[in-house]
C-alpha cells in the first residue's frame, strides 16, 4: 500500500504522464480534424515516422533543431497530401491507403537511416529542441513539477489543443469542416468545396502527426530509431474515438493512455513486471474502444469517399 502511495504520490509519474501523452495528443487532435471532415487517417502512424526521421535529418544537417522541426512538418505535409489525394480525389479505400503509407514510411525511414547515416545510427551531436525551465514555475506546488522543465513542444501542444477547440467549434471554417464530415452532399449544395475542406482536414492531421514524430525524435531524444512510433498513431486514433472526436476529449483520453505508459516506468526494476505493464496502454485502448465509459458516435460521413456531382 505504501508502495502504491509512493508511486502515485511521485510527481515524476505525473510529469512523465504529460510528456508521454504529447505524441498521442497531437495525432489524436489531428485525427479529430481529419475525421471531422470525413477522412479516416490511419496514415498518421507513418506520417509520424516521416516527421521523426526528417526532424533528426534536418536538425543534424543544419545543427538547428527549429529547422529540423520545420523539415519534419514539411515532409509530413507532403506525405499527407499524397495520402489525401489518393483518399479524396481517387476515392481509394482510406484504410488501405493509410496502411500503404505506413508500410512505405517504415521502409523509407529505415532505408534512409542506413543510406544517409550508415549502420551506426543518427549522429550523437544532433541538437534537440529546448526544454523550458523557469525557476518561478518550479516553485509552485504540484503544477510546478508537472509543467516546468518540459520540452517546448509540450507547451505548444497544450496551446494547440485550445486553439483546435476554438477553431473547430467557434469559426466558420470549423463549422464547414464539421458539415462536410456529417453530410457532404448538403455541404456541397450549400456551396462548400468538399474536396478542399477534406484536404485541409487531412493536411492539419499530417502537420500535427509530423510534430508528434519530431517530438519523439528531437523533443525527448536526439536520435531516430527504426519504427520508433510503436503504434502511437493507432493508439491516438483510439484516443480520438474515446474522446468523441473533440479536441478536449482527445486530450483527456490521450492523457489516460500516457498515464498507462508512464506507469511502466517505476516498474523498470523487474523485467517480468515491466513487460506486463507495458501492455497496459494497448489494453486500455481496447477497453476504451469497447465503450467502457459510454458509446461515441462517429461523424456520419466518416470514411466514406465523396464524389462531387458534375
Amino acid at each position: 500500500m505504501s508502495g502504491l502511495l509512493a508511486i502515485f504520490g511521485n510527481m515524476q509519474l505525473w510529469a512523465s504522464t504529460l510528456s508521454l501523452s504529447v505524441p498521442l495528443v497531437l495525432p489524436a487532435l489531428g485525427g479529430t480534424f481529419s475525421e471531422r471532415t470525413g477522412v479516416v487517417n490511419i496514415a498518421m502512424e507513418g506520417i509520424m515516422l516521416i516527421g521523426a526521421f526528417f526532424a533528426v535529418f534536418f536538425s543534424s544537417l543544419t545543427m538547428n533543431p527549429w529547422v529540423g522541426l520545420l523539415g519534419a512538418v514539411v515532409a509530413g505535409g507532403i506525405m499527407a497530401v499524397i495520402f489525401a489525394w489518393a483518399a479524396i480525389r481517387l476515392r481509394s479505400d482510406q484504410v488501405i491507403i493509410g496502411m500503404a503509407v505506413n508500410i512505405f514510411a517504415s521502409g523509407l525511414t529505415a532505408y534512409l537511416l542506413n543510406t544517409i547515416f550508415g549502420f551506426g545510427g543518427t549522429p550523437v551531436n544532433t541538437p534537440m529542441l529546448p526544454h523550458l525551465n523557469w525557476p518561478w514555475l518550479g516553485r509552485i506546488p504540484v503544477l510546478g513539477p508537472l509543467l516546468n522543465d518540459q520540452s517546448i513542444l509540450v507547451y505548444i501542444t497544450l496551446l494547440l489543443v485550445v486553439a483546435g477547440h476554438f477553431f473547430l467549434f467557434h469559426t466558420r471554417l470549423g463549422l464547414r469542416m464539421r458539415a462536410v464530415g456529417e453530410n457532404p452532399e448538403a455541404a456541397d449544395t450549400a456551396g462548400i468545396n468538399v474536396y478542399r475542406i477534406r484536404y485541409l482536414g487531412v493536411l492539419i492531421s499530417g502537420f500535427l502527426s509530423a510534430l508528434a514524430g519530431a517530438y519523439l525524435s528531437i523533443g525527448v531524444l536526439n536520435s531516430f530509431e527504426v519504427d520508433m512510433t510503436n503504434g502511437r498513431g493507432y493508439i491516438a486514433l483510439a484516443a480520438m474515438i474515446f474522446g468523441r472526436w473533440t479536441p478536449f476529449g482527445s486530450f483527456g483520453a490521450a492523457l489516460l493512455f500516457g498515464f498507462a505508459s508512464a506507469l511502466s516506468m517505476p516498474l523498470q526494476s523487474s523485467v517480468a513486471a515491466k513487460n506486463l505493464v507495458q501492455m497496459l496502454p494497448y489494453v486500455v485502448t481496447i477497453l476504451a474502444l469497447i465503450g467502457v465509459g459510454g458509446k461515441s458516435v462517429a461523424p456520419a460521413a466518416d470514411g466514406v469517399p465523396y464524389e462531387a456531382e458534375k
Binding site: 489518393a86 512505405f104 493507432y234 481496447i286
Partner: protein, 390 residues
C-alpha cells in the same frame, strides 16, 4: 474492397479461364510494375545502381535451387497468414493483427513442442492444433466480440492485440516461464517429434509448405462451396443486407475473425516447427504485416494469395542479397511493398489518367478546328457503398 464476384459461382466458372485470369491480375500486375519502377527511382536518387540492385535481388530469390527452396520456405508463413487476412477481408473485416495471432500461434506450438512428449504422428497435429486455437482465440475473442457487440473497429483492436501478444512473448522469454535456463532470452528447442520434416537438405523448406497448400484448398472450398462461405462473402459485401437476409451477422463477425486468426496462428506454428524450432525474443516476425499486403495484392483470392505470397517471399529472401551484392539497404523492399499497396488501392489512378488523356486529345482536336467528338464522359454507375468508419 470492390467485390464484383457476388454470384454463387467461382470467378473461374463465370468468365472462362483466360479472361478471369486477365481480369484478376491486371491491377496487381500494374501495381507491382509501378512499385518496382518508382522503387528504382528512389534507389538511383540515393546513389545506388538500381539495375544491380534488382539483379542481385532476383539472384538472391531465384538464382539457385537453394535460394528457390528458401523463397518457397519464406512463402509458407506468408501464404497462411495472408489467407487469414484475406478471409477477414472477404467478411469486410480488416484484420491487421495477423502479427499478434502469428505470435500466439508460435508460442502455443513451441510450448506443446517442448513440454509434451508424444510420437511424431500425434505431436505434430497437436502442436498445429494448439497454434490454430491460440490464433483463433486471439483474433476471435477480443477483436471479434468487441466488433460484433460493441462496434469497436477491428483495425485498432487487432493492432493493439498484436502489441499485447509481442509484450506477452517478451514476458515469457525474458526471465519468464518459457525461458530456457541460461542467459539468452529464448525458449528451449522443441522436441524433434514436433519438427516438420525438411524437404530440401540445407534449406529452410519444410513440410510446412503442404500445410500451407492444404489451407489454400480448404479456404477456397469453404469460401465458394459452403453456406458459411457464402454468408461470409455476403457479410463483406453488405452487412445490412446480410442481417436483413436473416444471417447471424454478429456470430459470423466473431467466426470470421477467429478463422482469420486461426490461419495466422498456423503460420506461426509452421515457422516454429519447420524452420526456427524455438522462440526467439524479438519485436516482430515481419510476416504478420506482410500478410496484409499479400492478401491485398491477391485481391483476397485464396489462389491469388499463393502467387502474391511468392512475390513477397522473393522480395524478402532477395533483400539480404541485395544488401550484400549491391550494397542497397534491405529495407528498400518495404518501400517497394508500400508503393505496391498504394497502387493497388489507388486503382482509379489509371482511370483518371486515361480520362485526362482523352480530355487533352479532345482539346487538341477542337483547337485544330474540328468539333470535339470525344469519348463518352459518363462513367459506369458505380455504387459507392463502402466506408471504413473508424
Amino acid at each position: 474492397m470492390q467485390n464484383e464476384n457476388f454470384q454463387d459461382v467461382t470467378p473461374l466458372e463465370r468468365h472462362g479461364f483466360l479472361r478471369a485470369l486477365l481480369r484478376a491480375v491486371s491491377t496487381p500486375l500494374v501495381a507491382v510494375i509501378l512499385g518496382i519502377l518508382l522503387g528504382s527511382v528512389i534507389i538511383e536518387v540515393s546513389g545506388y545502381n538500381a539495375i544491380a540492385a534488382y539483379v542481385s535481388l532476383f539472384q538472391g530469390a531465384f538464382g539457385s535451387g537453394y535460394s528457390i527452396a528458401n523463397t518457397l520456405a519464406n512463402a509458407v508463413p506468408l501464404i497462411l497468414a495472408g489467407l487469414g487476412v484475406a478471409v477477414g477481408f472477404r467478411a469486410g473485416l480488416f484484420n491487421i493483427g495477423a502479427e499478434g495471432q502469428y505470435w500466439m500461434g508460435a508460442i502455443a506450438a513451441v510450448w506443446v513442442g517442448y513440454a509434451v512428449n508424444l510420437p511424431w504422428y500425434l505431436h505434430i497435429p497437436l502442436a498445429l492444433a494448439a497454434a490454430a486455437v491460440a490464433g483463433a482465440l486471439w483474433g476471435g475473442i477480443v477483436p471479434g466480440l468487441a466488433k460484433a457487440y460493441a462496434g469497436a473497429h477491428e483495425v485498432i483492436t487487432t493492432m493493439m492485440m498484436s502489441y499485447v501478444a509481442i509484450f506477452f512473448s517478451h514476458y515469457l522469454l525474458e526471465n519468464g516461464p518459457m525461458m530456457e535456463p541460461g542467459y539468452v532470452p529464448q525458449s528451449p528447442v522443441i522436441r524433434s517429434s514436433a519438427f516438420l520434416p525438411v524437404l530440401v537438405k540445407g534449406t529452410q523448406l519444410s513440410a510446412g509448405i503442404f500445410v500451407a497448400l492444404a489451407a489454400v484448398a480448404v479456404v477456397y472450398w469453404v469460401l465458394y462451396y459452403t453456406t458459411w462461405g457464402f454468408e461470409i462473402r455476403a457479410l463483406g459485401l453488405n452487412r445490412r443486407a446480410a442481417r436483413y437476409g436473416g444471417m447471424p451477422v454478429q456470430r459470423n463477425i466473431v467466426l470470421a475473425l477467429a478463422v482469420s486468426g486461426l490461419l495466422a496462428g498456423l503460420a506461426g506454428a509452421a515457422q516454429m516447427m519447420g524452420v526456427q524450432h524455438r522462440l526467439y525474443d524479438s519485436f516482430s516476425s515481419g510476416y504478420g504485416y506482410t500478410a496484409i499486403v499479400v492478401a491485398l495484392l491477391a485481391k483476397n483470392d485464396p489462389i491469388g494469395v499463393v502467387f502474391s505470397a511468392l512475390l513477397f517471399a522473393a522480395l524478402g529472401t532477395g533483400a539480404q542479397y541485395m544488401q550484400i551484392g549491391a550494397n542497397v539497404p534491405g529495407r528498400m523492399t518495404d518501400v517497394i511493398t508500400g508503393l505496391i499497396v498504394f497502387f493497388v488501392a489507388a486503382e482509379r489512378m489509371v482511370e483518371l489518367a486515361s480520362r485526362w488523356l482523352a480530355k487533352r486529345r479532345q482539346q487538341r482536336r477542337s483547337q485544330a478546328g474540328r468539333p470535339g467528338v470525344g469519348p463518352a464522359q459518363g462513367r459506369g454507375a458505380e455504387l459507392e457503398s463502402k466506408g471504413a468508419g473508424v
